[in-house]
């Protein structure tokens, strides 16, 4: 396994944002193909999760999330202590729920393309692995982290 080091070296260059195509002057001839632009990075991160609807804390889901967290995440993430990865207390206030789930589900692309995740890799150089969790598992972990942050 030699990927860890490589990823650190990857510096991704984003193309400069150009004016949106619809503002270009209209012409008689069909418009030249517009170069595909990098998608703007949203604060929801990059990955399969585009929208999460949050309700009151679901205690059963949070409990399941804690079990998964203990098995697959706790080796590297503590709540209040800087460890292999960042401390996670307050993470649901710092990041969008979609960002958190995308980081769990799609960590290798996140650390290459998402500016926040890239910054974290520089600070914590052990690449966060995908731990073979389903979207449901990731949602449960999110619920657990919410329950921690809301003190419930």
């Amino acid at each position: 396994m030699k990927k860890g080091l490589l990823l650190i070296a990857v510096a991704l260059v984003f193309s400069c944002q150009q004016k949106p195509a619809e503002e270009a002057p209209k012409t008689e001839t069909p418009p030249a193909p517009v170069e595909k632009k990098e998608e703007a990075i949203s604060d929801k991160g990059i990955g399969p999760i585009t929208e999460v609807k949050l309700g009151p804390i679901d205690q059963a889901l949070a409990k399941k999330g804690k079990e998964i967290f203990d098995s697959k995440c706790a080796s590297c993430h503590k709540l209040e202590e800087k460890y292999v990865g960042p401390p996670l207390k307050g993470v649901t206030q710092r990041r969008k729920p979609e960002w958190i789930m995308n980081m769990i589900l799609n960590p290798s692309e996140m650390v290459q393309k998402d500016p926040i995740a890239k910054g974290l890799l520089a600070e914590y150089p052990t690449q966060m692995p995908f731990q073979n969790v389903s979207q449901e598992d990731a949602r449960a972990i999110l619920e657990y982290l919410r329950s921690v942050d809301e003190g419930k």
């Binding site: 396994m1 030699k2 990927k3 860890g4 080091l5 650190i8 203990d70 098995s71 697959k72 706790a74 080796s75 590297c76 460890y83 292999v84 150089p125 052990t126 690449q127 692995p129 995908f130 731990q131 073979n132 969790v133």
Partner: protein, 633 residues
């Protein structure tokens, strides 16, 4: 023997390189599995590039992964002779359904201590090994049937059955052979279904029929002279030896009718449970033996010149080609003529209850003056057979129905077996043939007296065979099989799921990591994840203890194994795959501090992945203590 200059000539002009060039990052079209011969393992190559992509651990211990060293894998190498760390693996055979490769399993034989192994092609790991009783030199094996109902085994060496202490020169009186059929269709359930007692010849290679000849398997024999010394001369006297044709459906009937003897025999069946990550051995105590005298129609002999090696069945199931090493012709038998000869009782004699069919009654044709030392044959599905010729170092291509050689190509040097992609199935892919050569001299940079065996790749898609590539192999391949990558690649596992890990000493969460003492045994339930062990500091171990490090890799990411080893360990390291648990057993001999570390470069902080064990003198009161980081337990 051809020279190197001729080799250059044999490569036709044109863009040969692009035929074998697979750009970085692209995948090969075929997997090819080479037997390791005296390495005891199987090596996997991508073709056409000739790049090695895996060595599968089968019959030999492997210090790289701990195979055969750990308590989990030692049972895999148990036999009635005890723990055997090595064997001689000869013939890989890919499982089939309906006469076509199905990409489920690879089987391979062990020659020295007769066994057959199953390799699961979703993990490329050996998952089952069965020992063959009443056998010696399991050479004509495993060569299965068209729905993988059975894989077969036979005795290269005849021996007393059952074994007994007799003078060797009582060979003719006391020595017998056996041919065995092993149920192969269900993982974990390999079993010797029945054995057939055969005259004391040497049984050499085998192939089972397909299509019309499904239900039959064919075995070559030599030393029908029944010599027991200086076989080089004494077993080369008869003009013809025999191909044994075994009707296994008839054998099944005889077993159902009770026409067999239940013979006491001790042999091992070893099975690796993928969810427990652990192998168990089962000792079997008897085997069903059929005497052809009691089961008429189970076996026939086809006279075949001369000391035949290969016996190969065409893709349509009709033609049976014998590779008579010392013969001046290649005999091609006809299966339908054989059935007719049996019906008409065209027998010349009987040996131990086995009728010998008349040569002319079963022969389709003799390929005249084919080459010197014909050995082994495969088919391309387009009406052509390809036979390797050891003595004249060449492959010949011929129309086996018309009995006519159409092309020949030199090999470098002294080819043993060859393979045509899918060449033993109902639907060969053709396209490539590979020569497995025995003598390498001058084909690679010199590396001392021992050279790796060379393999040469031929494009056989056109009229003329064309040598397009050469590469070098692990051990001494005796045979290889190729399969379209598409039949395997999407089924291959990337991790072992942690949730499914049922190893009795697995810990699936760091918080469960712990150390427990039971008398002089200390069990360390350890986890590993990039890039630390839990626990990584352990105290309270004493000289005289046996320490079991049960290490679980918590990663669930492809290609992230971690290794574990401790200073002074007398065993191999363990290399633990994602989601897997393995055990390293350690007996510290002197007080002191012993570092352990991860041996597989896993992350930027791999070099930090380490720990210490403190060993105190025997009888000291040092309490058990273990932790990782600041949180002492």
């Amino acid at each position: 023997m051809p020279t190197q200059k001729e080799a250059v000539k044999s490569v036709a002009p044109g863009d040969v390189a692009s035929k074998v060039y697979v750009p970085p990052g692209k995948h090969d079209e075929f997997y090819v599995f080479f037997s390791g011969g005296f390495s005891g393992q199987v090596s996997v190559y991508g073709i056409p590039s000739g790049r090695i992509i895996k060595v599968i651990k089968v019959f030999s211990v492997d210090p790289e992964t701990g195979y055969g060293f750990t308590p989990e894998t030692k049972p895999m190498l148990m036999t009635s002779h005890g723990f055997i760390p090595w064997d001689d693996a000869h013939h890989p055979w890919l499982s089939q359904t309906n006469g076509e490769q199905d990409g489920r399993w690879l089987f391979i034989n062990a020659n020295n201590v007769p066994r057959i192994a199953r390799i699961d092609l979703s993990t490329f790991e050996t998952t089952e090994i069965i020992e063959i009783p009443n056998s010696a030199g399991n050479h004509p094996s495993p060569y299965g049937t068209e729905n993988t109902e059975y894989v077969v085994a036979g005795t290269r060496f005849s021996v007393p059955i059952p074994q007994k202490d007799v003078p060797i020169d009582s060979y003719k009186e006391n020595f017998k052979g056996t041919i065995s059929f092993i149920k192969a269709n269900e993982p974990g359930k390999m079993d010797v279904a029945f054995q057939i007692l055969m005259p004391g010849f040497n049984y050499d290679l085998a192939r089972c029929g397909r299509g019309p000849s499904h239900g039959w398997c064919f075995f070559t024999s030599y030393n029908t002279e029944q010599a027991h010394t200086l076989l080089e001369i004494n077993a080369s006297k008869n003009d013809k030896d025999y191909i044994a044709a075994i009707n296994w459906k008839r054998a099944e009937e005889c077993v159902a009718q009770g026409k067999y003897q239940e013979m006491p025999a001790t042999y091992y069946h070893n099975y690796y449970d993928e969810e427990k990550h652990m192998a168990v051995s089962e000792v079997k105590k008897s085997v069903k033996v059929i005497n052809p005298k009691d089961c008429q129609g189970v076996a026939y002999f086809l006279p075949t010149p001369k000391s035949p090696h290969g016996v190969d069945v065409s893709d349509d199931g009709e033609y049976i080609v014998g590779g008579g090493k010392l013969a001046t012709v290649i005999p091609i038998h006809s299966f339908s003529k054989m059935l007719k000869a049996i019906e008409q009782k065209a027998f010349e004699k009987e040996i131990d209850g086995i009728p010998v069919l008349k040569y002319d009654a079963v022969l389709h044709c003799e390929l005249e003056k084919p080459c010197l030392g014909p050995l082994h044959t495969e088919f391309d599905g387009k009406g052509f057979a390809y036979t390797s010729c050891f003595v004249s170092s060449e492959i010949i291509k011929y129309d086996y129905k018309g009995c006519k050689v159409v092309d020949r190509a030199p090999t470098y040097y002294s080819i043993g077996h060859l393979l045509v992609m899918g060449g033993d199935t109902k639907k060969p892919y053709g396209k490539y043939a590979i020569a497995m050569n025995k003598i390498t001299k001058d084909r690679s940079l010199p590396v001392g007296p021992e050279l790796l065996q060379s393999a040469q790749l031929y494009d056989i898609s056109g009229e003329k065979m064309q040598l397009i590539h050469e590469f070098f192999t692990v051990g001494e391949p005796h045979y290889a099989q190729g399969i379209l990558a598409d039949k395997i690649k999407d089924k291959v596992k990337k991790i072992y799921e942690l949730e499914k890990n049922k190893h009795p000493y697995a810990v699936k969460s760091e918080k469960d990591a712990r150390v427990e003492r039971k008398g002089n045994e200390v069990h360390v339930y350890m986890t590993m994840i990039r890039s630390h062990f839990t626990p990584d500091n352990i105290e309270g171990i004493k000289v005289g203890d046996t320490v079991y490090f049960h290490v679980t890799n918590l990663e669930q990411d492809w290609d992230i194994p971690h290794g574990f080893v401790i200073k002074g360990s007398e065993d191999a390291e363990i290399l633990v795959m994602p989601g897997q648990t393995k055990t390293l057993v350690w007996k510290p001999k002197a007080p002191g501090i012993y570092p352990f570390y991860c041996t597989d470069f896993c992350s930027a902080l791999h070099q930090e992945m380490q720990g210490y064990v403190r060993v105190s003198p025997a009888g000291s009161n040092a309490p058990l203590k273990y932790y990782t980081g600041t949180a002492q337990k």
